[in-house]
Symmetry: C2
């Protein structure tokens, strides 16, 4: 359109302070303790650790690590970027860019003095825990309210679209539950103004549904992190970031189940783990549970080097 745009304009306009933005770093830090997935929070457990990206930070990652450590006393191990989004600042004349990260650790003797706490993530998403069967809130509260919301649309197309999305994201009948759709479910609930965040500041709306809210859009970010983690454990050995150095296969299974929010088949799970050579025996056995002593295993660090690998899904031809 304009011929002055032959060179990328970023350089040219950088000195123009008219587009001032500030960047926030936000961390979703997860640990699994006693078979419960927990998230690291600050304040009244309504906020994720976060802080502005500063000039002193060497990189986004190190800035994030600094903030988490400062606010919670907890050093981070594995982290990966989640998503970046932008909202208009409350003042309106500035933009806030939020860069979110997912971190995995073990909930250990961190600095007690720091004001932080670990909260079970199902406090925020009670409908996501299907380990003890389909949660009653789902059947009794969420689905009826979502159906009502779908039907209240005037336009036929909208109605159909809503029904379809609700069915897809919340479809139960046990086997069809897709645990990865954490974010889609939260966003549907938000759209239907069934979560507190959606009605905040605005008037009325439906009374919100069980599940603890968070400040700003932190709960949405947490949902993003959970969704990412639930998909990732299926194709990358990230669970081990959450495990102690040595563990039994049952402990490993319980951790996976805690994350996925559903139970897995014991024998097949064990076969899966062993056949992929993900673990090796330490030689010790422990009998912390009742039942016979269990062998302890450790993660084979070498697989990180060997098989950062990905799976093929293309039927390659031999050259």
């Amino acid at each position: 359109m304009q011929d002055k745009t032959i060179q990328p304009t970023s350089q040219a306009q950088r000195n123009n302070q008219s587009h001032a933005v500030s960047a926030d770093l936000i961390a979703v830090v997860i640990a699994v303790t006693d078979g419960e997935p927990r998230v690291l929070t600050i304040g009244e457990a309504q906020a994720l650790p976060s802080g502005p990206f500063e000039l002193g930070h060497r990189s986004l990652q190190s800035g994030l690590r600094a903030w988490v450590e400062r606010q919670t006393g907890h050093p981070l191990g594995y982290i990966e970027q989640l998503y970046t989004f932008a909202d208009r600042d409350r003042t309106g004349d500035e933009r806030v860019i939020s860069i979110s990260y997912l971190g995995l650790t073990r909930e250990e003797q961190a600095d007690r003095s720091a004001a932080h706490s670990w909260r079970g993530w199902y406090d925020y998403f009670p409908w996501e825990d299907h380990r003890a069967g389909v949660p009653s809130i789902l059947r009794d509260i969420l689905v009826p309210r979502l159906s009502a919301w779908a039907d209240e649309a005037e336009d036929l197309g909208v109605r159909r679209d809503r029904r379809q999305r609700v069915a897809y994201a919340f479809d139960l009948d046990d086997r069809d539950w897709n645990e990865e759709l954490v974010l889609q479910r939260y966003e549907l609930l938000y759209e239907a103004t069934l979560v507190a965040e959606a009605t905040r500041g605005r008037d009325g709306g439906s009374p919100s549904v069980p599940g603890r809210p968070m400040i700003a859009d932190h709960r949405r970010i947490l949902a993003t992190g959970i969704a990412r983690l639930r998909t990732k454990i299926k194709y990358r050995p990230v669970v081990f970031e959450l495990m102690p150095p040595a563990f039994t296969l049952l402990q490993l299974q319980r951790t996976v189940e805690a994350l996925a929010g559903r139970l897995v088949h014991k024998q097949n799970f064990r076969r899966l783990i062993e056949q992929q050579d993900l673990v090796e025996e330490t030689g010790e056995t422990v009998s912390e549970t009742r039942g016979p002593p269990a062998k302890r295993f450790r993660f084979r660090q070498t697989v990180l080097a060997e098989r950062t690998v990905a799976g093929t899904k293309l039927p390659l031809s031999r050259a």
Copy 2:
């Protein structure tokens, strides 16, 4: 550590202009024409479309769309976020945050007047095209130079680490080539100062290797986009964003091969596509190639709604 950090500090410090940043939006826009994957470039084909995120932009996505359209006259369809990174500005007292996106379109009658061009992505990464067998540059130039670089390290551990990473990322023997490791390969070449971008500004270094450079870190971003696309085509039906409304199975196959940089098995590919119900016949046939007329297919839009689905890899137990 500090007790004043009970609340997230982002709010508190937002008005402090000491951490001024500017945010750039960068687009990797891909199309496949005549069996060649192309990337949308501006300037002397050394830059990706980009521009600062401005107050007028409703969202990151719409800001990106605006910039690409302004600079190239090309409207965007499918886009997804790639990655966000930060570099110190050349002035040193400000930060630049780059938010990159991947876009997929068809290279069509866009505005001719706009100063843009489509470049084959293998111009930038000649070592990534294995459709006609292992590229000779790989055997003759890249691998020898990388080996030399690995061996020139003084520390034994570093030497071993480098060799391992080179072997993993570049290992040939045909079948073991992993087309998804585009970024890892580029970064190794960068680390070994074998690409022009690595020696730019600095003195000497090894003479660079075949492959067209780009400004700043645009080539790294392109590598990120290619890698993402190569992995994504395996589990989401995104190829169809690159196809015309109707196409033959061979055209579809050629597109996938262009992206993956390797040949796929014809019969098995067709089975894969058909059994997943991704396409349906239009009823027409065309004989543009020699050989018998081919049926034309169209993408079944419904699958987007039905199966945004993901695959299980956990051995779930029946409740």
